[in-house]
Symmetry: C2
Subunit: 554 residues, 2 copies
């Protein structure tokens, strides 16, 4: 909030919010699972698993009006400083606003885009060569958070056969596990960091340099293998990159919204520019749907409203993302960052501590694997979880060299049946009388039967969304990812929070550098000077890392 | 409960439970973060991040006594039917009860163990050969749930360089992504299913057969490439396996506790028998600690008590598992199954619906990667999450051919600093006055400063455990995994629930086969006969999979 501006009423003092609270406190009405599905950009959202009785849906839509959700969406697209605490716009939609020729309409974005296009073209033509003159063919992305999760997901979803690698962690095991076995002379590292000050990324850049040098790359040829992607070209230059090996993007691109920018370089190289453009086009189509559609028919608004209802009113504390597609196995991790970093806030934009829950824990795994793991809790647990089932209806584009077999088609058909069956089980449960008959038929009776019945009962009436895609391709994946971005923004507007900052992550970074002196190898006495609550563990660290120590001692 | 046995008092009517409820309802006392750490089997648990004031810890230990936790642990180890709803013992501890010679003490377990040892020895010596006579060298595990997650985790943690593959999902993409690029003539499939009736596993077995046949393997030589691991040898025989290619294990091994049994074949082949034995030995040591130690010094009991306090009394709904070790990146997924399938229950063993929360959602990721993703919510979110930090204090055993570099050591030291810093930030937050001074120094003032302060404040007083290992090796990993198994059992005793059944997963399987007829390719009219709430999506499926359809239509 700028000084002098009148502070909006706290959300939980709005008339519509109070109405929702009354509805939440009232006993739930039965029979509210009416069919409720909408389609946009080829994606169909079925909300019937949320059991939103008409008065609840009406009250949620009234909240959207009272919060001026359509106006706030316009502000986002127009470049208003929606990230107020950092005085910044959040213009990721501009990254995918392509003209009829498939070029970004914004001139600055177009300039970055052409840099990427040029790189991707040289990569495709194998004109990028390594220190010994061989064409580069292995791609390793170095980055963490938004410089990792989005590109990693898209590459795994659309071209797993290319085997592009991603190194993120400060743990040196990550670099070695990903790079062992690659031919250094043929490896290109794309080093992504918005600030070019990310500790993990600079560390792994150094690992890459040492790995190349150890393989015989002359110092002077290191630049052949290293490409920087950053919004801070100056710092990349200071780290040894020349302008020819730096791709840039704008400061208003938030990390978790950056896969559409030059940070998507590994996507562009892995899929080719056509694939990257199709991804952007799908997102662009979703942007237009979200911007132009009133809340009652707007997929992002309805999902955001449902999140607010579930997490603030309905005692639901987590969202399970369940893609029924192995290629989307990394989707929960990407959405974890997108949703939890954006909505894990406890104060509104006016600085008032909130009296209601905001963003929930986001987790999940690809179906059917989760069915053999955590679905037990979804069906019979005591926690209220809302599930997002995400289902591409046709089998994925197969490996270019391998047509789909009948067996592949059968597997996919069974996969679809499992997805729908899980929804049915969550929705309906099993009728108690039927369960009793089944147990009696198995010979159970008396006290044993009575004790078993509640342990076996699946109650149903659990919460879920279903999102279907005709198939998993770049265009529909782009639309899907953009939908989640807008869902998050809609929820943040309804909660009155800033979806684009992440102040909570700074403190740990600062403390980390303060702790390093106590972890000075060969100086176990430093443990005594460390903060009291860490002395035991720091002393243990010195023992475990003592060079003269018996390596078999525990 | 057996008929005639007197039902135990419901947990929430116990005097100790009521006492805990009073403590939970009282305002929290400050200054209760006293140092509280214990060591067993080389693992140190620091509980200080749970801020258990002495009266709370006393009341929790009183609950353990009232529930006869030590007696219930003895029942588990003695083979009492602790899985009452299935009339079964849960004797996974017997799988790792080795004698001085490193052989299982139980004769039947020993017989299975020798079968595995024999196989691992022939694998090591490259005496297993494929259809064209080449030695087998690629290992692909086919299994799902417990037949996948545990072995997958252990292989990734201890021998990522061996590149053993794991196929689990019904989605055919999983098989193809894992197996593309392997040489069929050199590939061994280990097909794991306790019942040998698991749909996904039988499906992927068929994929393996077709893949081998397509590569020129004669039908008669398929058995060279396929090994079954099951507790139901008869069904494996019916599926075409001869006894020579079947490894068995006992019916009392639960899926999520089965990595210690023949289901660990991929572990034994990947690590060698010495590594597998060290894993078992570590678990065995932890078993003895847990069985023999009174609750107040028992790591598993204290963790279980803390879970009960957090999830049933403290409005905490999830547990974030944060291993600061890239090699443990799959640990959250393994624990997700172990904990959520075991404690996602809503009725006690007497069939009474519970009035309190039991098992929570388990999720997480390897640090430091999560710091750039969801840690924002941990530090500043509105949800209460408890975190398990898991930290090996020394860098992992490196690739056999590559000694640790100075850069590797530096990275690991920074990794440790980050782990401890995250704990400090969660514990202490940032003093508000210091934050104000920092913002003033940056030139912020007036209304803007006041609005920013709460948005930037990191409040601290969040919940966490720290578990340190001297280093990540087979022995300590075995101890760690056994500790979590016992923690789950302890919590289940305190909650009065069955940790060893999973009735909630059956209904979805049944419904799935009922739905297949509506998904008959080429019969779009079937959609009209499907359950009403599925007609739209089933019709869309038929459109998306129509053979004559325009492949570019959405």
């Amino acid at each position: 909030m700028t000084a002098g501006q009148r502070a909006p009423t706290p959300r939980d003092e709005l008339a519509t919010w109070r109405r929702l609270q009354q509805l939440a406190d009232a006993p739930e009405r039965p029979g509210s699972a009416a069919a409720h599905s909408l389609t946009a950009c080829g994606l169909t959202l079925d909300l019937s698993g949320q059991r939103l009785a008409p008065p609840i849906l009406d009250a949620l839509l009234a909240l959207a009006r009272e919060c001026d959700l359509p106006g706030q969406l316009r502000r986002l697209f127009e470049g208003a400083p929606v990230n107020a605490s950092e005085h910044r716009a959040a213009l990721h939609t501009r990254l995918r606003a392509l003209d009829a020729d498939g070029l970004p309409q914004d001139p600055e974005v177009a300039a970055h885009f052409r840099g990427l296009e040029n790189l991707a073209e040289r990569w495709r033509q194998r004109r990028l060569t390594g220190f010994a003159g061989q064409p580069l063919q292995h791609l390793v992305n170095i980055g963490i958070g938004g410089s990792d999760l989005g590109p990693r997901l898209v590459c795994a979803a659309l071209a797993p056969e290319r085997d592009s690698r991603f190194v993120a962690n400060m743990d040196p095991e990550d670099f070695h596990t990903q790079c062992d076995g690659l031919d250094p002379g043929r490896t290109l590292f794309i080093v992504c960091s918005k600030s070019f000050g990310t500790a993990e990324t600079l560390y792994n850049l150094e690992q890459a340099r040492q790995w190349l040098l150890a393989a015989g790359c002359p110092e002077s040829r290191l630049p052949h293998h290293l490409l920087a992607v950053t919004a801070n070209a100056e710092r990349a230059r200071a780290a040894g990159f020349d302008d020819e090996h730096i791709l840039t993007f704008q400061d208003w691109v938030g990390g978790r919204y950056s896969l559409w920018s030059s940070i998507g370089a590994s996507i562009a190289l892995t899929l080719g520019m056509d694939g990257f453009r199709a991804l952007l086009r799908g997102a662009q189509a979703m942007d237009q749907h979200v911007l132009q559609t009133p809340p009652e028919h707007n997929l992002a608004a309805l999902l955001g409203l449902t999140d607010v209802w579930n997490f603030s009113f309905r005692h639901c504390h987590s969202l399970a993302v369940l893609p029924y597609a192995q290629r989307l196995a990394l989707l929960p991790m990407h959405l974890q960052q997108l949703m939890m970093e954006s909505t894990g806030k406890r104060a509104d934009q006016q600085g008032r501590l909130l009296g209601y829950h905001t963003g929930a824990v986001v987790w999940g795994a690809a179906g059917t694997t989760g069915q053999h793991s955590f679905h037990q809790l979804l069906h019979q647990g005591s926690q209220r979880v809302s599930c997002d089932f995400i289902l591409p209806l046709a089998p994925g584009a197969p490996h270019p060299a391998r047509p789909l077999s009948e067996l592949d088609r059968l597997g996919h058909r069974q996969l679809v049946a499992h997805c729908l069956a899980q929804m049915q089980a969550l929705r309906q449960g099993e009728e108690k009388a039927a369960l009793r008959r089944r147990l009696e038929a198995e010979g159970r009776a008396g006290d044993e039967l009575e004790a078993l019945l509640p342990q076996l009962e699946v109650p149903g009436r659990r919460l879920f969304n279903l999102l279907t895609l005709p198939r998993l391709d770049a265009w529909h994946l782009g639309a899907l990812l953009a939908l989640y971005e807008h869902r998050v923004y809609c929820a943040s507007v309804l909660w009155g929070i800033n979806a684009f900052d992440q102040w909570g992550v700074e403190l740990g970074k600062r403390i980390s550098s303060e702790l390093l002196p106590w972890l000075e190898p060969g100086h176990p006495e430093r443990a005594e000077q460390a903060p009291e609550e860490l002395r035991t563990v720091i002393a243990a660290w010195h023992r475990a890392n003592a060079p003269q120590g018996d390596p078999t001692a525990s």
